[in-house]
Symmetry: C2
């Protein structure tokens, strides 16, 4: 299963149109997420465009591996997830993975047609929108692109992790 | 927390004494376990005396990291465990870990005084006994050694994985 996804910064020019869409969408969930990103002992995940993270949300923890992006426009990539509990952070550290950064955000998730739209208020970064589609076909990313065009949104391909690391420099 | 542990092969000379002890012990649990062991992309776990495995038992899956043995006699070592579900095998494979071998066994777990005694019927290896004590102090392994002496048992420090790999050669 692929995670077809595009992201954009919400600003004063785009906020109005996004809010129009959200009025037609169904609010599914609002939650606080804290992500811990890890670096690999053998690969520079920044170079290979991979990511390994643990996401804590409520009483759940999810380990996620994200493969390299599959095209030049979207954030679509291969993704594997496992629910975890117990000593997972210690196990990763013993295997040589190191904590890079924590990303904290408040996330509102909406369902709009076949799309999952997340409105993220990210600590130290501000508000972003993500549109996601689950599919086995990378070509379906065009459907997200069309919605982006309708909303005059500009695709931000860098992850919150990258944006936060840039800001810290 | 340390896993203080010693293991011995059960044979016709030791079986009688072990059964005497088990008659005074309480049977806690009987279960089938299937362990998948992984090799690391950067370290030779055989050299570093570490192990990474997923244990499937019933509907549970546990990811375990075992550090190097802490002394020359027992199998005592640092151990971290996490319950896992979902794509954990795929995540490990994406990070470069490779499946080495599956170890299948029927395990009966007894409580005898402060010791946990496991009687393992291991596929392709036969019957083994393991005596375990949870403790923060490596010196407590002497209490297991004393019980081993009482039972005339000889310590087997090699893991089931190592024994199976030797047998396959």
């Amino acid at each position: 299963m692929l995670e077809l996804e595009m992201k954009a910064k919400i600003n004063k020019y785009t906020r109005g149109r996004i809010e129009q869409i959200l009025r037609m969408a169904e609010l599914l969930e609002e939650k606080t997420e804290e992500d811990i990103y890890f670096s690999s002992p053998i690969r520079d995940f920044k170079e290979t465009d991979e990511a390994l993270r643990i996401r804590y949300s409520g009483d759940k923890a999810i380990l996620t591996y994200k493969g390299p992006k599959l095209d030049k426009i979207s954030k679509s990539r291969e993704e594997y997830e496992a629910f975890v509990s117990g000593d997972i952070e210690q196990i990763l550290e013993k295997l040589g993975y190191k904590k890079v950064l924590n990303v904290r955000k408040n996330r509102k998730i909406y369902l709009y047609k076949e799309f999952k739209i997340s409105i993220d208020d990210v600590e130290d970064l501000g508000e972003y929108l993500e549109i996601e589609l689950k599919s086995d076909n990378i070509k379906d990313v065009e459907r997200i692109e069309n919605l982006f065009d309708d909303l005059f949104l500009e695709s931000e391909r860098r992850s919150y992790l990258e944006l936060l690391l840039l800001k810290k420099k």
